[in-house]
Amino acid sequence: MTSDRQWEVLPSDAREALERLRLRPMLMADGRVSGVHISSHMGQSFEFAELKGYAFGDDPRGIDWKVLARTDKVYVRRFHDETNMAAWLILDASASMNQPMPDTKFRYGASVLAALSYVLLRQRDEVGLVLAHSRHPEICPVRSSPSHLGELCQMLVDARPSGPTVLRSSLEMAAAGMAKRGLVVVASDMLTAEWEATVGALGAIVARGGVAVLAHVLSVEELTFPFSGNLVFRSAETGESALLDARGLRRQYLKAISDFKAAVAEACLKVGVIYKAIDTTQAAHNQAAGIIHAVDFRHFKEA
């Protein structure tokens, strides 16, 4: 069931801005239908794969005449097939993502993932969504139909972040359900003691031939610590609270959060996960475009 509220996470201006974008992670996709990605199978496309000695039964249209002229041997040109790709978008729906009010990290992450799903569905890729907020995350299975975008957006709008961060188990479940190589994008603040295990699970997906992206969503408050005076700090996830002198702690905190970001980025780099720090002061679709560019840039570097 959908409503107009679904577009709260993907307004029309965002859709317009994203219309011309394509996400090409350049992995050997194992899609079911024709698409924009290189297939692991041979077929008809412009993506040259190899030269093969002619054998009986090969299509004579594929004979490379230039090679025949130079070497007096008959070779057939082979091309990759083109297919679509499966992409899993995983959003951290723990309680820590539910701040600051009202533009929460969760809401921002949802917008980024909605923008990504819009781009992916437009290129006929299959997109699935996981909302990780408990041991049994909400899952929207992969589909490639254009109408699937509405379902995804509706699910994102309806979700209410709560509970502890359980990204690792959510990731493992998603990976288990993802039979084919594809793309996994995780949007999370990673404010959990298990963040290293989460990055490790993403690394396992990369090791299987997939592409994994970590969109690190931290609020402006968490990045700049604009507090002063004595404040009672409360953690929604753990329930801890403490009356602290914010000004006295600022320098120490900023160093700690900076070190944390650097540590997460370094851990991602080690296992081949694409790390993208999300700037929540920018429009969400711009950050989605940034993720797309990061994936393309990665492909460009590897090429």
Partner: protein, 667 residues
């Protein structure tokens, strides 16, 4: 504790301000949802740690404010009544640390009781009092030096380090010194505390009662808890045995039985390897005498009884040399014995009387330091041909207390070697003929009147002596030379030269019949024996026999160095003559003389250190002389002294301030 400005204490509730502020701020402080709290707490910490730290910091802040308020209230304490009830005084503590204070009883000695009492008294004294400590053991000592004073605390520390000595006591002298010292102290109440066992012998020489005027005296009888029982060897003397002609001595021992029980135990006398152990009896309260005849094969011996509560006086050492040893160096031996000087000297010295010396003879070429080490007196009979080393050895022998009698003669007249100047006042220059002179005794320099009297007796006998020739010495005699007998023509006949601790007697005629008929006259034997006795007296004056604990013993050094070996094995080296004062332990002290860097001693000497027998008598007067006179001169009470606390509290506040700053950095 009291306060000078107690009004400030009303401000104490201000100390609760941090607590109130904390809870107020906690309730009013905005709440922020913030899930990155893991970066707000310190490494390894938690919010629980933060809460604990905040609680401690709150307590510190509360305390800090409270302490500051209390500082403004200027707290103080009044000294406890025990110390503060009396004002500072000038006190002299006279402690008897003589041997008798070591008398043991049930594990405690009078010294223990005396020092404990003194410590108690000092601890109750006003800390600003001036204290001087005097010890009555010989020699009497006082601390600190004149012109300085100690606090009671410092005096206590000093007394803790003191121990009872083995010396005799001189309580009278110590008390006099204490009175002098207390009168030199400040114009406060003057007090004297005397702790002793107050034996009768201690009280000799005590100041008269009027001398204590203005001084409050407190006494403590340290023997109060102890039964004064003691058994001791109070005398041991070896004398030549008149009954036999061998080298035996008769050891006379006196035993004091100062106990209530009869003494019936073994008394042991030992001289070298020879020893006698005999069971003896002595009634209580008596001094019993015993005699033991035994071989004197060593220079000293010891007498011992089983140890009692005062073991230091249960053993005594004595000199065991039976007779003097005289070495005759025969410079002109004759075929006819009755023409030889040795013949006449032997006749004169070996009369059948008890104290005849042991004679030995050697010829000039053979004489060595070995012969000198065994001799007390050396007689050079007409000797002229000594080597310089022999002369120097003789001079060293004299310097250490030995005696040399030199007689003139043909050989003596030929002496021209300058090295003889080490012994003689001057070298002989000519032989003079005299005709029946008369003799004048001029030995007024003799230190012992008995020796002078004897010489004057001999001088009367000399009138019969006809001396024909005299050897005449050159001029320029060194200091210490004197003429004892001269002729009526002022020609020296008997000359004495003092060298070091000994002396040389020079008879400027012959001791045989060559130049005189002296050997045939009645004066001969008395003169020779007098000369030997006179020379021997120098060695006796050195104290070869016993001295008492803490007496000084002169070490006369003519060699390069001398080592004094104490009974405990400690070695004290002398490189010049001096007084040896470390005689605090009874026993046998050995002096080894060394020449150059040689390891073997060229000579040795012993002296004995015994306890003073007066310390063995524990008899006491019926009444202790020092009655406590504290009632006569009551103590002036002083106003209570306020000891401010705010300097301490300032330190506490500083510490709390530092702690608060540190905790603030942790939260």
């Amino acid at each position: 504790m009291a306060f000078e400005s107690s009004a400030f204490l009303w401000a104490l509730p201000i100390a609760l301000v941090p607590l109130i502020m904390h809870f107020y701020m906690r309730s009013k402080a905005p709440s922020v949802q913030f899930d990155a709290m893991m970066f707000l707490v310190l490494e390894g910490g938690s919010t629980a740690t933060i809460r604990w730290t905040q609680a401690i910091m709150l307590a510190v802040r509360t305390l800090l404010i409270a302490v500051i308020i209390i500082i403004f209230a200027r707290p103080y304490v009044v000294r406890p009544a025990v110390v503060g009830a009396q004002g500072p005084v000038s006190l002299v503590v006279v402690l008897d640390d003589s041997l008798s204070m070591r008398l043991g009883s049930a594990g405690f000695t009078p010294w223990d009781h005396a020092t404990a009492k003194a410590m108690d008294m000092l601890s109750e004294l006003n800390p600003e009092s001036e204290v001087v400590v005097v010890a009555s053991g010989y020699p009497v000592r006082s601390w600190p030096p004149v012109g300085e004073v100690w606090t009671p605390q410092k005096a206590r520390r000093h007394i803790l380090k003191m121990t009872a000595t083995m010396a005799r006591g001189d309580l009278g002298q110590a008390t006099k010194i204490g009175l002098e010292r207390v009168r030199l102290l400040g114009p406060r109440q003057r007090r004297m505390f005397v702790a002793s066992d107050f034996r009768s012998s201690d009280l000799v020489g005590m100041p008269e009662p009027e001398e204590f005027h203005g001084v409050t005296v407190n006494s403590f009888d340290a023997l109060f808890h102890i039964v004064p029982e003691n058994r001791a060897i109070i005398s041991a003397v070896a004398v030549p045995d008149r009954t036999v002609s061998t080298n035996r001595v008769k050891v006379a021992v006196e035993l004091l039985n100062g106990s209530l029980e009869p003494f019936d135990d073994v008394l042991t006398v030992r001289i070298g390897l020879a020893s006698i152990a005999r069971r003896v009896e002595c009634p209580p309260g008596q001094v019993c005498a015993y005699e033991f005849v035994m071989e004197a094969n060593e220079r000293f011996g010891e007498v011992r009884i089983p140890s009692d509560e005062l073991p230091e006086d249960d053993v005594r050492w004595f000199s065991a040399r039976s007779r003097n040893s005289v070495l005759i160096v025969n410079g002109a031996p004759r075929r006819q014995a009755e023409e030889d000087e040795e013949f006449f000297l032997r006749k004169a010295l070996q009369l059948k009387i008890a104290d005849s010396p042991v004679l030995s003879r050697v010829y000039p070429d053979d004489m060595s330091p070995v012969h000198l080490a065994a001799a007390d007196i050396v007689i050079l009979a007409n000797v002229g041909g000594f080597r310089p080393a022999q002369i120097q050895a003789l001079a060293d022998f004299v310097a250490r207390g030995g005696g040399v009698l030199i007689s003139a003669g043909d050989n003596f007249d030929k002496i021209t070697d300058e090295s003889w100047n080490a012994l003689l006042p001057s070298l002989p220059v000519e032989r003079l003929f005299v005709s029946s002179p008369r003799y004048i005794i001029s030995g007024q320099d003799l230190e012992q009147s008995s020796s002078l009297n004897m010489l004057q007796e001999i001088g009367r006998l000399l009138d019969d002596v006809d001396i024909s020739w005299l050897s005449f010495l050159g001029v320029g005699w060194p200091q210490g030379s004197s003429v004892l007998i001269q002729t009526d023509a002022s020609l020296p006949l008997l000359v004495e030269r003092r060298i070091g601790s000994g002396a040389v007697l020079l008879w400027l005629s012959t001791l045989d019949r060559d130049w005189t008929d002296f050997p045939l006259r009645p004066a001969y034997a008395p003169f020779v024996r007098w000369a030997v006795s006179h020379l021997q007296s120098f060695m006796a004056a050195l104290g070869r026999s016993s001295i008492t604990v803490n007496d000084a013993r002169r070490v006369s050094l003519t060699t390069t160095r001398a080592d004094v070996v104490t009974p405990g094995g400690e070695i004290i080296t002398f490189k010049s003559s001096g007084e040896f004062t470390q005689t605090s332990v009874p026993g046998v002290y050995l002096i080894n003389y060394y020449e150059g860097s040689g390891a073997e001693p060229t000579g040795s000497d012993v002296f004995l250190v015994n306890t003073d027998s007066s310390e063995s008598f524990l008899a006491r007067p019926n009444e202790i002389p020092f009655a406590d006179t504290e009632e006569v001169a009551p103590v002036d009470p002083l106003p209570e002294k306020k000891v401010p606390w705010h300097p301490w509290l300032l330190g506490v506040a500083l510490l709390l301030f530092v702690a608060e700053a540190w905790l603030r950095g942790r939260v």
